[in-house]
């Protein structure tokens, strides 16, 4: 089975490729703004096209589907049913799907689900990294402040931590706040 990818950036394409290739699907990645979509589709005869939802080449794909009944056409329903996964594929992964008429809905559904599950795991990873970031930033600031104190006042690491803690306690503020202020203004208060 041939799947053509259009305007899907490499970071997405590489991942889809590694998953689909193991299922025996031949993936053709096409990411050239200047090439002729008519020629590409005409020569390759893909059974499925995955295209960036916001690609400006989409209206040309619509024309191809109109010119030739054998070419893939937009899928927004599976069989006669509204499909939540097609919606999520477009909304979350930014991918729209075109398939030839006699593509079994069940096969399409699996393909979409596989693609989606991949994107969701990546998205979750990204969300987790994002959630971690403030904590990492806070540690960085604290370390910088300690280093500053050690270098400026000739104190040990332990003494620098003590100093920051004392100032934080006295002012009733978080230690990272005091550290941030120290780095920004050079003063504890």
């Amino acid at each position: 089975m041939k799947v053509l990818l259009i305007d899907i950036d490499d970071s997405r394409a590489n991942k889809i490729d590694s998953i689909l290739a193991s299922a025996g699907i031949e993936l053709i990645n096409f990411n050239n703004q200047h090439a002729d979509i008519y020629q590409i589709v005409g020569e390759m005869h893909p059974e499925i096209i995955l295209v960036d939802t916001n690609s400006s080449n989409r209206d040309t794909l619509e024309h191809l589907a109109q010119l030739n009944k054998e070419y893939p056409r937009t899928v927004i329903k599976l069989g006669n049913n509204r499909s939540e996964s097609i919606n999520r594929l477009a909304a979350d992964a930014g991918i729209s799907i075109y398939a030839i008429d006699n593509m079994p809905p069940r096969l399409l559904q699996s393909l979409i689900d596989i693609t989606l599950s991949f994107f969701h795991s990546i998205d979750r990873l990204r969300a987790e990294v994002l959630a971690l970031k403030p904590e990492i930033d806070a540690r960085q600031i604290l370390n910088n402040a300690k280093k500053f104190i050690v270098e400026t006042y000739g104190l040990t690491d332990e003494q620098a931590t003590d100093l920051l803690n004392k100032n934080a306690n006295r002012q009733g503020r978080a230690i990272t706040d005091v550290a941030r202020q120290l780095m920004e203004t050079g003063s504890f208060v």
Partner: protein
């Protein structure tokens, strides 16, 4: 979450609204409704989403990713019928603008047309006939077909280009090649020599002429005076679930269209819509056609065409059912639609004059009391008084479509692929 719109005390089902648009001059009603605060005054928090393709807009509205969008007037009709795309039950209660498109040919082809008949410079009919001579010449010399670009297969521009070609006996499906290219790439495609001409909305024709790439040989106004171009469309299920919100959007858009139609506001409008988040082209390129100046040939004074863009006058915003009928007639003519359908029922399911009337009344406007009107019977020279309710409606080929006479009209169209007897069987309406 239901909220109360404080100002008018109307309960809106939804206040955070996302609307799609394509960077073209006639995205103006949406932009103005946002920038001038008409949406805000209705209690709506609208985000405008710039889209790269009509297929993208269509599917996002169908899937509920967008609440509504600017669309080619033919798209809701085509989607309802599943022509050139998936079947989506879309409705439109409002037309955003009339006219605004043009057909541009590259310099080489224009010189050729001019050498066949110099009146090609100002007459779309003669330019089409000259093109027919060129097409015949190319056939004899076994040269490849001329290529013309449009932005979407079932688009107003596609039907306009085909209408113009067919007026001179050129078969758009056999004598030339039509390709689909996004509006933003149209001018580049002409520069690269990929296409010899195109039919597209502004500001792309003006840009092509300003860059000395080509000449405008026909405007949409000349092909069919004051014909509908873009509509505001939503999915039927969205409209059923959000009737008050739909009305609030319509009211804001009507106010924007009234504002836009005032001559003195057009310069400000050009400044707003040419900005980076919208069209992202020089203000002077966008301003020209908005100011009613039709630039056809580089180095010549632009023609004064007050009606180049019409946003409100001539009952422009009213979704005339007979306009939707015309799109269906062209789908049959060019073989995009082959199944015989009940035309009257179909158009009434898509265009919604009743919804428009409610919104218009709420902003203190009178609406036409009829849903259909005759087309092609009013020449601009015959309209003695400049009426704001009704404008010229002539076709390039001088045809007239009476109310209920769409099949009779279709029967008279040249090169038609329509199965008239089958259509007559299903459409047992009284023909005028």
């Amino acid at each position: 979450m239901p909220t109360i719109n404080n100002k008018n005390g109307i309960r809106l089902e939804k206040t955070d609204i996302s609307l799609g648009f394509i960077p073209l001059t006639d995205c103006a009603p949406l932009v103005i409704a946002l920038e001038k605060g008409y949406f805000r005054n209705e209690g709506l928090n609208v985000t405008l989403s710039r889209e790269a393709s009509w297929a993208g807009i269509r599917d996002k509205v169908g899937l509920g990713i967008l609440d509504g969008a600017q669309m080619l007037a033919s798209i809701p009709v085509a989607s309802r019928l599943g022509v050139g795309g998936p079947r989506i039950d879309m409705i439109s209660a409002m037309v955003l603008d009339l006219n605004g498109n043009a057909i541009t040919v590259n310099n080489d082809l224009y010189d050729h047309l001019f050498s066949v008949d110099p009146r090609s410079e100002f007459s779309p009919l003669i330019a089409a006939q000259a093109l027919q001579c060129v097409v015949e010449e190319n056939k004899r010399a076994k040269r490849p077909k001329l290529r013309f670009g449009v932005v979407y297969p079932c688009s107003t521009q596609s039907y306009e280009l085909r209408y113009w070609l067919a007026s001179a006996g050129i078969d758009p499906d056999r004598d030339i090649e039509i390709v689909v290219i996004p509006p933003s790439k149209m001018v580049t495609a002409m520069t690269d020599g990929d296409i010899h001409g195109f039919c597209v909305g502004e500001p792309w024709n003006t840009l092509a002429v300003q860059q000395q790439l080509g000449h405008v040989v026909a405007t949409k106004y000349q092909l069919w005076n004051n014909s509908p171009e873009k509509v505001f469309a939503v999915s039927e299920s969205w409209s059923n679930e959000n009737p008050a919100t739909h009305q609030a959007i319509l009211r804001a858009l009507i106010k924007a269209c009234i504002w836009l139609d005032k001559k003195e506001n057009r310069k400000t409008a050009a400044k707003m819509i040419s900005q980076a988040p919208y069209i992202a082209l020089p203000e002077e390129t966008v301003a020209l056609s908005l100011m009613g100046l039709s630039l056809k040939h580089f180095g010549q004074m632009p023609e004064k065409v007050d009606d180049f863009h019409v946003f409100h006058r001539y009952s422009a915003n009213f979704p005339w059912l007979n306009h939707a009928e015309w799109f269906i007639s062209q789908m049959y003519r060019w073989g995009q639609l082959t199944t015989p359908i009940n035309i009257e029922e179909t158009v009434a399911a898509v265009y919604k004059p009743s919804l428009f009337r409610i919104a218009a009344e709420a902003v203190g406007l009178e609406s036409p009391s009829i849903d259909r009107k005759t087309e092609g019977n009013l020449h601009e020279k015959n309209l003695l008084m400049k009426s704001l309710q009704i404008g010229p409606n002539q076709f390039l080929d001088g045809q007239v479509i009476s109310v209920g006479g769409i099949i009779k009209y279709l029967e008279q169209q040249s090169l038609s692929k329509a199965d008239i007897p089958a259509l007559r069987l299903i459409n047992v309406q009284k023909e005028a």
